[in-house]
Symmetry: D2
Subunit: 360 residues, 4 copies
C-alpha cells in the first residue's frame, strides 16, 4: 500500500480485517467543536449492519463503536478521532476450505500475487466489513455538514437486476427509503425486488444493481479545477467501494446521446440567486459545484460469493471445484446505500475544508 | 486550488490558460534513463491537435512542444521535466462579448463565484486546451511502460450520439483507429458518425459520445487496496477530463443486470499462467490488476459551445441572449481519444512505481 | 490539523491523548512479509517507559502494546498495522487545578487559541505520551531495515546542561548506552549527569541536553534532491519531537566556522568502494546518503513542568501563580533517546521505499 | 524523486538545471486576488542575483523573471502561476574537465549513484541556481502575508567563520541589512567579515557562517500539532537549502544548557493580549505560533568549490587531483539571506492557509 487513506484535509485512514480483532478508522483533520456522541456514529452503523433481515448476510454483529480519542466533553478537539468496532461473530472455519484457492472475481488471487501473503479469513482486508470504518467516518462528516450548511444526503436503490424504480428524488425522504427492505422508495419496484431476491437466494445465486445518490443544499464553489474536480473525486470515492463497476453524474451515459442545445443548462435568476432551469450538469460545472443538487449513480456487480458450485484454480495451480459457504448477501446493493452516502459525505467535507483555505 | 497535480510518484502538474502565453506541465518523479526526444512528445500532441480536419475546431495551433529541463543527452535524469507549448493562434476578440456573461454548462459561473475573478479569454484555465499538457506527460508515461513492460494502450470512439460501433477491441490496431476521421474503427459506423457530425455542425449544434479504452499486457499487481484501487484512480482520471459524465470498467452498468453465476470470471490454467475465461472484472479484482486486459468506457456530454442562440445570465444578474462564437468542435469525442489514453497511462505508471516501492 | 501523519510511503498516523483511553498509531505502507511479534514492539516501548528509575517520572505504565490488524501468522500482510497502548496510571486530579490556566512554555495557550477547546488532562494530545506511538512504529521500521540492509541505529545522550560526554560513536554499543541511567556512554560524564539531575530534582527544577544519533550501514542513494533531502526530513522528524530546539548533522554549527579546504570530504578508493576520508558531510551530500555514517545532534530545552512556583495567566486573562504538580522527569533527554531513534528509523525507511520506486 | 515540491496548500514545484534552458517554478494553490507584478518578483530576485559585488560569483545573470500563467489583469486567479528565468551566462566549458570526476562534498557522487546519470554542467539540478525559483515563489508568499497580516520577515548574516555580529533584531531594518556587502547589520562586524572574505578569496578558499531570521507580526495559531509543527516545517525548509548543516529556533542549542525555571516564558497580560515576558520559545509552543516573534538560526558550511587543488576519485574509480574552476562565491551566506527568507515565507503561508481550513 499505502492506499488506506481518503481525503486531504479530512483524512480518513481505515484499518482492520474481516476476521481480525477489529475494523476501524482514524479521522485526522476533524474540525474542532463538533458535538459527536457514540450514538451519532451508531445510528449510521446500524443502517449498514448485517443480519437485519432475511435478504442480508446472517452474520450477527452488534457493531458497537468505541470512540477512543479526539473527543473531549462530547466535542471534537481537532485531534485525530479513532473509532473501533470489534469483530465478534467470526466463523473462520467457514473459510478454512477456501484458504488455498482463488475464489473467482474476489481479491484472493491479486492480493496473493501482489503481497506474497494474504489473510484469507473472510476475505481479510478486502472484505466489505472494512466499510464499517467508512460509515463511521461519514457519520462525523454528515453531522458537520448538516450543522454548518444544512447539507442533506439522500441515497437509495434505484435498480436491482432489470427491475428499475420510477423515482423523483426530490419527492423522496429518508423514511421512504428505510421503510423498504431493499431501500428502494418506489413501493411497487421494492416489492418486486424483494421477491426476486428471495428467489435468487434460493437458487444460490446473487444479483447486482444501481444506487442513486443526491446531495441537496450543496454549497456553491466546492471542487478544484483540473484534476481534483468534485466529479472526479466522487468517481474515485464510489469506485473505491468493492463490487462497483461504474459511476455517472448528472445526465451520465444518457447525456452522451443528447444534442448540446438540449443538454445545456440555461441560467436564470430566481430571487437573488442564479439558478439553472435544467440540471444535466448534476450540480457540477467545470468540476465545481454550482449550488444546484448534485446527483449520481453507482453500478454494482452481483456479489461474487454464492452457493452454486464454481470452478477455479488453487494456489498450487491446480484446477478445482468448490462451494463458497460463509454468510453472504444475495445482493449487496441495499446495504451499500449507507456506504455510498458515507463516501459522498467524505468527498464533500474534504472539498468544503479545502475551499475554506482559499476564501479571501 | 491546488488541484493541478495528478499522481503520487509520477506527479504531473499542469499550468497555463487557453489564451495565455503557454500551456504545459512539470513531471516530477520521472524515472531516470528514459530516452525521450522532442519527437516522442510531438507525435502524441499531433494526435490531439485541433484543425486537423473539417469536423474539429479551426483554431490553428502547431503545438510545438519545448522540453526545458530534466533531459540530458536525450535521457531523463530523475529531475523534473518541464514541457511548454506556446499559444499562437489566439483570437481573444472572439470571446470579448462573452466576458460579462455566464455561458450555460461552462465553468464561467463556478469559477467566478469560487475565485471572485476569472480569465474569461477562451475559457481560461477550464479550456480543453489544458489537456495539451496531459497528452505531453502521457507520452513519457507511455514510452516508459512500453519499453519496460510492453504495455499497450488502445483507445477509440465507440459511440457518437445514438450511433454505436460494433467492435472487438482485440481485433483493432492503432491504424484502424487513426484512419477514421472520428477515430471509430468500425468503418460503417465511422461513416455514419461523420455524416451526422457534418449535419450537426451545419445546424450549429453539438454531440456527445463514448470513448472506449483498453490496456493490454497489463502488469499484474497494480493498484492499492481500499481507497487507491486501480479502478478508483482510473475513474478519477477520466472524470477529471472536461465534458465527461460517466465511467465504467469491465461489465460496467450492464453488469448490474447480471447474475453472479454468469458474471464471475472463472480461473483456469494456461501454460504456467493463471488466467480467467471471461473478463467481466475488466482486469481488476479487489482494486488490483490481475494480468488480464483492463478495459473501460468514458461518457462525454455534447460540447457546451455551439452557434445556436442561447439564454443565460450576466455577471450583473441580468438575463440575456447570446451566440457563442469562437472556434469549437461539433463533437469533442474523437479528439478526446489521445487525452483519455494519456490519462490511462498516467494512472498505470503511477501505480507501477508505487508497486515497485513495496516489492520484496 | 491534519498533521498527525509522518512519511509518504511508510505512513505513520498517531492518535490518542495522555489521559484518554489509548495512545497508538496506524502504520500504512508496511511492506509485506516482515516478521513482527508483540515482543519486537514491546522491547522498544520498554526503553521509553516512564518510572524505570529515580530520575524519571513516577507515572507507572506497563505500556503493553496490542497489535490489532495487519499481522497474519506473525507476518505483515501489506495491510495497515494498528498498535494500541492503553493508558492505565492516569491521575487526572493532578491536573484539575491547571485546567483553567496556561502553563508557561507548554502548549496550553496555543491549543486553546487555535482550536477553542483543549483536552487539558495531562497535556492531552501535546503530552510526551504521544511518543509511545512513534516508538512502536519505529520498532517495525528498525526491524525491516536491520533485516534488509543491516542498518544500525545508535543513539545516546551527549550532553546534559553543561556536562558533555567525550564519546566516539564508533566505539559505542547499545549496552554502553543502556547501562547508564542517563543513557550517556561516557561513564564519568554519566555519573556527573546523574548527580546533577538528583540535585536539580530536589530543587524542583529541570534540565535540558543534547541527544546524538548515528546511522551505520546506511544504504547509498537515500534522500530526494531539492526539498525532500534526507537531511531536511531528518530535521523535520527531530523538530517534530516535543521540547526540541535545534538539529544539526555532520559538522553542524561548528562547520560554519571552518574553511572549505578543511571541511571538504576527500574521496578515495577502498577495495571496490568509493569512501570519504573525513565525514563532515554527515553521510549526506546534495541531500542524498553517500554510504558513510549519518550522524546528527538534537537539542532539548529543559522540561517546562517543575515544582517551583511560577506565574502565568489563566483563561479568563487573570495573572496567577501556581505549582505544576503531576509526575514529571527532571530531564526528558535520557528518555528521548528511543524516540529520536524511532524518528530516525521512520525517515530512513520512508526514503528507502521511495528510492525503490525509482530504481531502474 | 519526486521531491521537488514544497508545501501542502501553497505548493511550490521547482524545475530547471544550472546550465539548462531555464530555472523556475509552478506555484499551485496561490490564493486568488493577490496583485502581483513582474516587479514584485524581480525585486526579490535582484537581492539573490550573483555578480553584484566583488565577493560573489562573477556569473552575470540578469535573472529576468517571466510570469507565464495564473495572473490575469495583474491579479492571481487561483490558477497555477508559472515563473521562468532563462539561463544566459552559461559557461559549460568551465565544467567540462569535471564531468568525469566526483567533486568532494558536492552532489556529483550521490546523484550519479542514485540515478545512474547526472547533468554535470554547473552542478545541474543540485546547483544553488535552483534557489532562483524559491525566491520567486517566496515573493508571492511575502506579498500575500504582508497585505493580509502585515507579517514582516527580517533576515541577515549573524556570523561568518568566527566573526559574530552583536545584533538585536528588534532594532534592525531592511536597509541596515542591505547596505552591508555581507548583509550583516552590525557595521563593525560587517567590515571585518568583508576583509576576511577578501583575504579568503585570494587564498582560493571559502568560508561558512550563520544566517539569522525573524518573523514579526506572526499570526497566532499557525502550525499543526505532532508532526507538522511550525518548528518542524521551518527546520525542513531550512535544511532543504544546499550547504546548510543546522537549524535552531528560540533558545536553540544554548537552551540545552539552561534550567527550566530560567527557560520558561512567563505569560502576562498587556492590554487585551496575553504575551510572554521572555521568548525562549521562539514564538512557537507545542509546535504552534503563540503570537510572539518567531526567530531562528541556520548554519552554513563553507562552499565546496574553491581554487585550491583537491584530491578525489573519478567515475572510473581512479584517484585524481583537480582544481575547481567555474565562478563561485567565497561565501554563500550573504546571498543565502533572501533564500532563507523565501523559505520562511513559504512555511508561513502554507500553515496560514492550512489554519484557515479549520477555522470555525
Amino acid at each position: 500500500m499505502p492506499g488506506n487513506t481518503f481525503g486531504q484535509l479530512f483524512k480518513v485512514t481505515t484499518f482492520g480485517e474481516s476476521h481480525g480483532d477489529v475494523v476501524g478508522c482514524v479521522v485526522d483533520g476533524c474540525p474542532p467543536g463538533i458535538r459527536i456522541s457514540q450514538n451519532d456514529i451508531q445510528t449510521e452503523l446500524d443502517r449498514r449492519k448485517p443480519g437485519k433481515n432475511h435478504i442480508s448476510s446472517s452474520r450477527k454483529e452488534k457493531d458497537r463503536v468505541h470512540i477512543m480519542s479526539g473527543i473531549f466533553k462530547g466535542e471534537t478537539t481537532g485531534a485525530p478521532v479513532i473509532m473501533v468496532v470489534h469483530n465478534k461473530d467470526v466463523k473462520t472455519e467457514d473459510y478454512s476450505h477456501l484458504k488455498n484457492l482463488y475464489r473467482p472475481s474476489h481479491a484472493d488471487f491479486t492480493f496473493q500475487k501482489k503481497y506474497g501473503i494474504r489473510d484469507w479469513r473472510g476475505g481479510g482486508r478486502a472484505s466489505a466489513r472494512e466499510t464499517v470504518a467508512r460509515v463511521a467516518a461519514g457519520a462525523i462528516a454528515k453531522k458537520y455538514l448538516s450543522e454548518k450548511e444544512d447539507v442533506k444526503f439522500l441515497t437509495y436503490v434505484e435498480q436491482i437486476q432489470a427491475i428499475k424504480g420510477d423515482i423523483d428524488y426530490k419527492k423522496v425522504n429518508l423514511k421512504d427509503i428505510e421503510s423498504s427492505v431493499v431501500r428502494c422508495p418506489d413501493r411497487g419496484a421494492s416489492q418486486q425486488m424483494e421477491k426476486l431476491l428471495n428467489k435468487t437466494q434460493k437458487e444460490g445465486d446473487t444479483l447486482g444493481g444501481v444506487v442513486f445518490g443526491a446531495i441537496r443544499n450543496m454549497p456553491l464553489g466546492l471542487g478544484e479545477p483540473v484534476f481534483d474536480k468534485l466529479s472526479a473525486d466522487l468517481a474515485k470515492a464510489m469506485l473505491s467501494v468493492g463490487a462497483t463497476r461504474g459511476f455517472e453524474y448528472g445526465s451520465g451515459f444518457t447525456g452522451s446521446g443528447m444534442k448540446g442545445s438540449d443538454h445545456n443548462d440555461e441560467f436564470y435568476v430566481r430571487g437573488r440567486k442564479i439558478k439553472t432551469r435544467t440540471n444535466n450538469s448534476g450540480g457540477i460545472q467545470g468540476g465545481i459545484s454550482n449550488g444546484e443538487d448534485v446527483y449520481f449513480r453507482v453500478a454494482f456487480k452481483p456479489v461474487s460469493s454464492f452457493k452454486k458450485t464454481q470452478k477455479t484454480v488453487d494456489i498450487k495451480g491446480r484446477e478445482v471445484s468448490f462451494q463458497a459457504g460463509g454468510r453472504h448477501d444475495a445482493c449487496i446493493v441495499p446495504r451499500a446505500v449507507p456506504i455510498i452516502e458515507a463516501m459522498a459525505s467524505l468527498v464533500v467535507i474534504d472539498h468544503y475544508l479545502r475551499n475554506k483555505a482559499q476564501n479571501q
